[in-house]
Amino acid sequence: MVCIRKATMDDLLAMQACNLLCLPENYQMKYYLYHILSWPQFLYVAEDYNGRIVGYVLAKMDEESNECHGHITSLAVLRTHRKLGLATKLMNAAQAAMEQVFEAEYVSLHVRKSNRAAFNLYTQTLGYKIHDVEAKYYADGEDAYDMRKQLKAKPSHQHGHHHHHHGGECCSGEGRNTQVTQTRGDSKTESKASMKLESKAV
């Protein structure tokens, strides 16, 4: 029915359009570019049989914190394409990449308190737990749940004996605090994840 695959450059405009159709938290194209040029492994799209992008996940590594962890920036599935488990598939793909490539210890996300459908997906299907509540996180004043899911911390590959997260460096060489992260989009909305799907099923 729907193809789940890594996003390419050519998908970005469609991802942005999908985001603008579904979610109140939006981003300029540069922020999408920033994601795909930093963590190309984390962007996945759901493409329907007509070649239309009907869902996506946009994710990143959080480089400002000491613990090496991933963060879901945004997840959306068109209302017309719910009940196919697309959100779950997209999330699983992104999480697997975080774990495999960057050895992320956990993955975090924000969700509107009122978004029960999304909350249920995160807690019941995907195994997220509430870590914290961020008051007035969203532009309209709504609170967000700060949610986390523990990933299996795998032993380091090739040299099995040492762990690789020295000094909180998250596999990032010089990638931190670059021009790009400073100039991207609107700082107020830049890292807000939210999603909308599976409203009351019949």
């Binding site: 029915m1 729907v2 193809c3 789940i4 390419t8 450059m9 050519d10 970005l12 405009l13 942005q16 359009a17 603008l20 159709l21 579904c22 109140p24 939006n26 300029q28 194209m29 540069k30 570019l33 795909i36 040029l37 930093s38 190309p40 492994q41 329907d48 049989y49 007509n50 009907v54 068109l78 209302r79 017309t80 394409h81 009940k83 196919l84 598939k89 793909a93 697997a96 495999q100 490539v101 960057f102 009122s114 532009a139 309209d140 090739q158 040492h162 690789h164 990032s172 060489g173 990638g175 670059t178 021009q179 790009v180 609107d186 107020k188 909305t189 909308k196 409203s199 099923a201 019949v202």
Partner: protein
């Protein structure tokens, strides 16, 4: 820097530079003024002061000071560098490059300037320059990883793949065996994957595979590793290994259709056009049956066979596929199957089998041959499916009866209203479609998707103000009322622009179209920061892909629509300049009461506009009271009135036309617009180029025919050439004309007739011929009208794919009506046409069809607000579009889909 200054001032100068880098501009400014008090002519200080002011939005002063500084110290690389930075900040990259080059002439080994120059060269795709600069940087600082990588990427971009590989291997040679340290493993792995992709690109497949295997432990991204490996294996013809690897990939992700495609290729069972011999079909069938056992949870293994199976096997597979999805209530089932409607016969099979399911459930509550009952929702989803099916077939009455039954069955399912709205849109009742979409929206106000859908319908119904009000329910961002533009919401801007255009508000239409154009310019600009970022982050494959993506960015459909829309606005502006346009009234098709209503509406609009302006002023001042830093500059021209005052609309149009010609050269529309623009500019040879392009792309297209005839008709009526230039044009056309097969040994009238004979059964071809008949000889108007009216709306089998549908399309019939009304100006014929089309399209408001909301507002359960708006849509649709009609290019403004 600051060398000629005494120590105290030299320190102050350093402070300016530091303040600039840390964005403490006030501090920098103070320091600069301190120096200038003593040394008012100090060039570098003047320059730096200018650069600082540039960051404080004092641009004119900035340029003045930077230029003065340079004049005072032409030998300073700082002054040149600053001048370059200033140009760079204004996106004047070519000028900036010149400045950097001057700076380097004075200080050839200045790494900072070289680096800045290399970024500009990458941005401007000055690839030979980029290679040179990166080489210099590597020579100066060979111990920097980034300089090796940058040099390699430069060669790659400059199409010297072999050299790029060589550089990367030389770089690897500088590394210790135990490289990389743990915190650089990802980057190093990316570099290796980049190198291997280069080897693949260059055709060194064996070597690429060998290298991949050798470096496996150092490649962190295992999924990409496997994808790269399988790609190489297949290219090397090692298909068995390839198929095994694809199967392994499918275990990781059984929903990736590209893996199935790859697997088919490994079994030599793949065809681009999806056509297979019966033998191949059997093999494919067997393949997917075995895959279905392995990947039981994958829907792909069940869906893909529907593409290649035929006859009874197709029917069986389709039933098995559809039934559980109806039971589950998957709303996207129809859209999932819709590509099959292009396969001959499959739509009929689907219709038949879903009708059987409907019948069985309706009577027994269960599927045929089953004992267990289906839940009540199954019946609902069957009706939902059938409604979309009949909609697709153009049988709107059946579609509506199905969806109405579904709504009656379960009135709380929002999707039903969305689909009903879409059917009404297709049937031509935009205002009823909008009010239904609004009903759906109100059922879940927290869902932006149904809000967006509703906004789209409102714009199609030309309810622009209401649409904006509705959209902004989701676009408040802090104190900002509407961030649609900031967030680059292009579908909205395009749909809004098109609605304004239909309603004759060229200013606002232009405003929206140019806004979209600006987004694309901004996206092009966005890449700038990544030239250095990606070299550090080492995401080189993604970076190169991004550059290629940027190079074709302007061929994206949104840009195309925006540019075409803007060009159309400028053409219209040229044809009917500002003053006459606003007062232009188009009364022909309106009753006095409608006119009165319009007048009232306009008055209300004006009042509203004034009120809006006032409230904008007050909110702007409100902002400054709170001292917000983020006050956006107030748009000095919110309604595009200044845009309309352009001196030369055609040269504005040409700007966008050039972009279309460069990026959408294979689009018919590009050359139609080029024809229109260049005919008006009297650029005969350019118009001729457009005609030739049209003939190349589709000589049988009615619009191509129009342009061909119009062009030579114009040429034939030109006076005998006098000047040398005119004679030259003449001789080119003389030489070219015999090569146009349509015109060989024929007069234009004869060519017109030949075209008619060839396409006698097509409405739009007949209409084009009729229009040209009139152009060539205005006295033949009655003949032209008769030619149109003699067309017959036959049932076309359409390859049997869609089943019987009437041949004429609604938008074509509307275009024909406008032609009769405005171009051939035969009101009686237009009326006859309208009556006739009202029969064919009973839901269409434009023709006031018997089922349309135009005639039965009350019975169609519209609330008061939308009724008013519904009416407003009418003048919009029938508004003056003589230009578009004359050129038969309504095509471009057909429904906007995302």
């Amino acid at each position: 820097m600051g060398a000629s200054l005494p120590p105290k001032e030299a320190n102050l100068f350093k402070l300016i530079v530091k303040s600039y880098e840390t964005k403490q501009y006030k501090k920098g400014l103070k320091a600069a003024d301190q120096i200038l008090k003593k040394f008012p002519d100090h060039g570098e200080t003047l320059s730096m002061k200018g650069l600082t002011l540039n960051c404080m939005d004092r641009k004119p002063e900035a340029y003045e000071l930077v230029r003065l500084g340079l004049k005072n110290d032409l030998k300073s690389h700082v002054c040149w560098h600053v001048y370059g930075l200033l140009y760079r900040s204004d996106r004047e990259y070519r000028e900036a490059i010149k400045c950097y080059r001057n700076a380097l002439r004075i200080d050839p080994d200045n790494i900072e300037i070289l680096r800045d120059l290399s970024l500009l060269q990458a941005q401007m795709r000055d690839l030979t320059g980029f290679v040179e600069t990166r080489q210099q940087l590597l020579t100066l600082k060979p111990n920097h990883r980034m300089n090796w990588i940058g040099f390699a990427v430069a060669h790659h971009l400059n199409s010297n793949v072999a050299k790029a590989v060589e550089i990367l291997e030389a770089y690897e040679g500088t590394l210790e065996d135990d490289y990389p340290p743990d915190n650089e493993r990802c980057e190093h792995g990316e570099m290796l994957l980049y190198k291997i992709s280069l080897l693949e690109e260059y055709g060194f497949l064996e070597r690429a595979l060998e290298e991949l295997h050798k470096k496996e432990p150092k490649i962190v991204d295992k999924l990409t590793y496997k994808e790269q490996e399988v790609s190489l294996l297949v290219k090397l013809g090692r298909l068995e290994e390839g198929s095994n690897l694809y199967k392994a990939l499918l275990i990781m992700n059984p929903d990736n259709y590209r893996y199935y495609e790859g697997l088919q290729k490994c079994f030599v069972l793949y065809s681009e056009n999806g056509k297979y011999s019966s033998d191949e079909t059997d093999q494919l069938d067997a393949l997917y049956k075995s895959l279905a056992k392995e990947y039981t949870w994958s829907s792909a293994v069940k869906r893909i066979p529907l593409d290649f199976l035929q006859g009874d096997k197709f029917r069986e597979a389709a039933v098995n596929y559809i039934k559980p999805l109806l039971t589950k209530g998957v709303p996207s089932l129809f859209s999932d199957l819709s590509p099959l409607y292009d396969h001959p016969g499959k739509a009929d099979v689907i219709e038949q089998l879903v009708l059987e399911l409907e019948h069985s459930i309706r009577n027994n509550g269960r599927y045929p041959d089953r004992t267990e009952k289906e839940p009540p929702s199954t019946f609902l989803w069957i009706l939902f499916f059938l409604a979309q099916h009949y909609d697709r077939r153009g049988q709107y009455d059946v579609a509506l009866s199905k969806i109405d039954e579904a709504i009656q069955h379960t009135p709380t399912v929002i999707d039903l209203y969305s689909v009903k709205s879409r059917i009404l849109k297709h049937a031509g009742d935009f205002s009823a479609a909008a009010s239904l979409a609004d009903e759906a929206r109100c059922m879940d106000l927290a869902d932006r998707y149904i809000n967006s859908e509703c906004v789209k319908r409102m714009l199609q119904a030309d309810q622009v103000a209401l649409a904006e009000k509705t959209a902004t329910l989701f676009t408040k961002d802090g104190d900002q009322h509407n961030n649609l533009h900031d967030m680059q919401c292009m579908w909205y801007e395009l749909a809004s622009g098109e609605s304004h255009f239909r309603q004759g508000d060229l200013g606002r239409a232009l405003k929206k179209f140019l806004a979209v154009e600006k987004h694309y310019a901004d996206i092009t600009e966005d890449q700038f920061d990544f030239h250095s970022y990606c070299l550090r982050k080492m995401t080189l494959r993604a970076y190169v892909e991004m550059l290629k993506f940027q190079d074709r960015l302007h061929s994206h459909v949104y840009f195309h629509k925006a540019a075409a829309g803007a060009i159309r606005c400028y053409l219209k502006l040229y044809d009917s300049p500002l003053n006459s346009l606003t007062e232009e009234e188009d009364n022909t098709s309106k009753t006095p009461s409608q006119k009165k209503k319009m007048k009232k509406q306009r008055k209300a609009d004006r009042a509203k506009k004034e009120a809006e302006e006032k409230s904008e002023e007050s909110s702007a001042s409100g902002n400054s009271k709170f001292g917000k830093r983020h006050i956006k500059p107030v748009d000095p021209d919110p309604y595009g009135e200044k845009l309309l005052k352009t001196e030369d609309p055609l040269s504005e149009a040409t700007k966008y036309l050039k972009l279309l010609q460069k990026h959408s050269a294979d689009s018919l529309e590009t050359h139609l617009l080029s024809f229109e623009v260049n005919m008006r500019k009297q650029k005969i040879l350019l118009a001729f180029q457009a005609v030739k392009q049209l003939l190349r792309l589709d000589a049988e297209n009615p619009d191509s025919h129009r342009c061909l005839i119009k062009f030579f008709h114009k040429v034939d009526s030109m006076p005998v050439p006098v000047t040398d230039a005119e004679k030259l044009v003449w001789s080119v056309l003389e030489a070219e004309r015999p090569f146009i097969s349509q015109l060989q040994d024929k007069t234009l009238s004869e060519a017109n007739k030949v075209f008619l004979v060839k396409h006698e059964d097509s409405l739009m071809h007949r209409v084009a011929v009729a229009e040209m008949l009139h152009v060539l000889d205005p006295t033949k108007k009655p003949e032209a009208v008769k030619l149109i009216e003699d067309s017959s709306n036959k049932v076309v089998p359409k390859n049997g794919a869609l089943g019987p549908v009437m041949g004429w399309k609604l938008k074509d019939c509307i275009a024909v009506h406008k032609l009769l009304d405005k171009v051939l100006t035969d009101q009686d014929a237009a009326l006859r046409w309208k009556v006739r089309c009202a029969e064919y399209f009973p839901y269409t408001t434009y023709f006031e069809g018997s089922h349309s909301s135009a005639l039965q507002n009350s019975s169609n359960n519209l609330d008061g607000e939308t009724t008013v708006n519904g009416d407003a849509s009418h003048p919009g649709i029938s508004g003056s579009e003589s230009l578009a009609t004359a050129n038969g290019k309504l095509e471009a403004f057909k429904n906007l889909t995302i």
